[in-house]
Amino acid sequence: MRRAFAYLGASLAFVYAVAPVYWLLTISLKREVDQFAWPPKWFVFAPTFQHYLDAFASGSFSRFFANSVVVATVSTLTALALGVPAAYGLARFVWPKEWAQGLSFWVLSTRMLPPIVTIVPLFLMLRELRLLNSLAALVVVYTAFNLPFVIWMMRGFFAEVPKELEEAAMLDGESRMGALWRIVLPIVRPGLAATAVFCLIVGWNEFLFALILSQTESAMTLPVGIASRVTQYEIKWGAMSAAGVVAMLPVLVFASAVQKHLVRGLSLGAVKG
């Protein structure tokens, strides 16, 4: 009896969590006459891909999509390129005790800063540099956004690799860099992949900076593009939902790939600042 109640409770929570997403998906696939049909067509309706074509083939959403892809991937790569060496440096070298701690906590504190505090000066600085409404500005900002996260995640992974392993590789004739590249990096590769995926999700989901720093159609990312349509034409629910579905699919796929690291990642502020 108690067990039945437990399953009932868990199932209700499950349905409640997934239902709004399911509803969004069905609206994106329904013809307009079915979208507001009453009683609602929960499961059975004639599906159409018209809204996806409207949003992406004739609308500007393909542009926003491409922008999001570029911004998320490039900022992830630069954050890794800068953050991985820093993490290795912090984990491997012997630092004066207060230094390593102080540095690490300062790094983390920049991540904990509310975005609204940095957005005003960043906007003014980027305006001065004439970098507003460019993808480059977003790449730089997201790189800085993800750096603390990369450093903290990777520092943990590097610390788990014994330094004797590197020494053994050097005994076998590897150079210093060779040992790092061919021995240490392959060991931390799963962690590296998870870190990269978290950075991709952050760059893909981020809204506030994108809203303020890129306001022209040519530099808009997918979330901002969707937001601008929500407030403009509330009525085009099909296209809106289609864009929403396309925006969420990559994240769900990515997230399922890093399930194992989700707790650590979230504790360090991944997914959303």
């Binding site: 929570a13 800068l82 989901n205």
Partner: protein
């Protein structure tokens, strides 16, 4: 060969780590310390130019700023307490299941992983007074929904946006508490059971104390996100109707990017930051964890 290792060890023990971290630290400093200093200067520059405390003085008497602080506190308090209780119950519930834990866990995490914008769009489809599925279902159940305006009604808007927050972020507390539950040792729980403790006693006297560090971390992280809440409210109500769901972040956004008063926005952002810090310290002290 051994010479190379000796060199490696000497290298690690010296200050040669600096070049490894310098580029990252440099970029972070350039994009956090410099803007902060710059922002302090902006907040201390009068609208007409010249050094002045006018922005800080103004916010003490700005009714709208005070309302937005109050509303942010209200929003955070209700969202945090309900999300915590729900998240903890769900974590205990799913933990007690014999089968299907992985599926339940995966499904329960979905709301949190979506782009916040998409989550908000989904809820607009649900809340819309005429076409939304929520009022539709209520009509079907025989209720009169003409006065149920959800996000577009002055009175119900705050309630409605909090409801979305609970939907979206209970998974966060669920996930962290769930992980915490799996990590606590089982022996004390077994021992208490053998000693004849009831389920409630076990939960209250054994599990919760063991879970305390996780609870503190989860509450702290969520509280800090709540106090800067922006995305969902921006999409759902833009702070309206009127001022009904305006939070500090939205008010700062409006001040800076609608009214172009950057000095005042910067001043408010520092006061908001100070309030957040004080609150975080208070929470940690209250939980008596370090």
């Amino acid at each position: 060969m051994t010479g190379r290792i000796a060199a490696f060890r000497a290298d690690l023990a010296s200050a040669r780590g600096i070049p490894w971290v310098a580029p990252a630290i440099g970029l972070l400093a350039a994009l956090s310390i410099y803007p902060l200093v710059f922002s302090v200067k902006v907040s201390l520059t009068a609208q007409a130019g010249g050094f002045s405390f006018e922005h800080y003085i103004r916010l003490l008497t700005d009714k709208f700023f005070l309302i937005s602080v109050w509303q942010t506190a209200l929003y955070s308090f209700f969202a945090l307490s309900i999300e915590f209780l729900l998240g903890l119950s769900l974590a205990l519930l799913v933990d007690s299941l014999a089968r299907g834990r992985a599926i339940f866990r995966a499904g329960l995490l979905v709301p949190m992983l979506l782009p916040p914008v998409v989550a908000a769009v989904a809820w607009r489809l649900i809340y819309n007074p005429q076409f939304g599925v929520l009022n539709g279902m209520l009509r079907m159940a025989g209720f009169d929904t003409s006065h149920l305006t959800w996000t577009s009604g002055e009175g119900a808007a705050m309630f409605s946006v909090i409801l979305v927050d609970i939907w979206e972020w209970t998974p966060f507390l669920f996930l962290l508490l769930s992980a915490g539950l799996q990590a606590i040792p089982q022996e004390p729980i077994e021992a208490a059971r053998i000693d004849g403790a009831s389920r409630w006693q076990i939960l209250w006297d054994v599990i919760l104390p063991l879970l305390k560090p996780t609870i503190a971390l989860a509450l702290l992280l969520r509280a800090m996100d709540l106090m800067r809440i922006f995305d969902q409210i921006f999409i759902l109500t833009q702070g309206g109707p009127g001022f009904a769901t305006e939070t500090v972040s939205l008010y700062i956004y409006r001040t800076a990017f609608r009214f172009y008063n950057f000095g005042y926005a910067a001043a408010m952002s520092f006061v908001g930051l100070a309030l957040t810090t004080v609150f975080a310290r208070g929470l940690l002290r209250f939980m008596r964890v370090q």
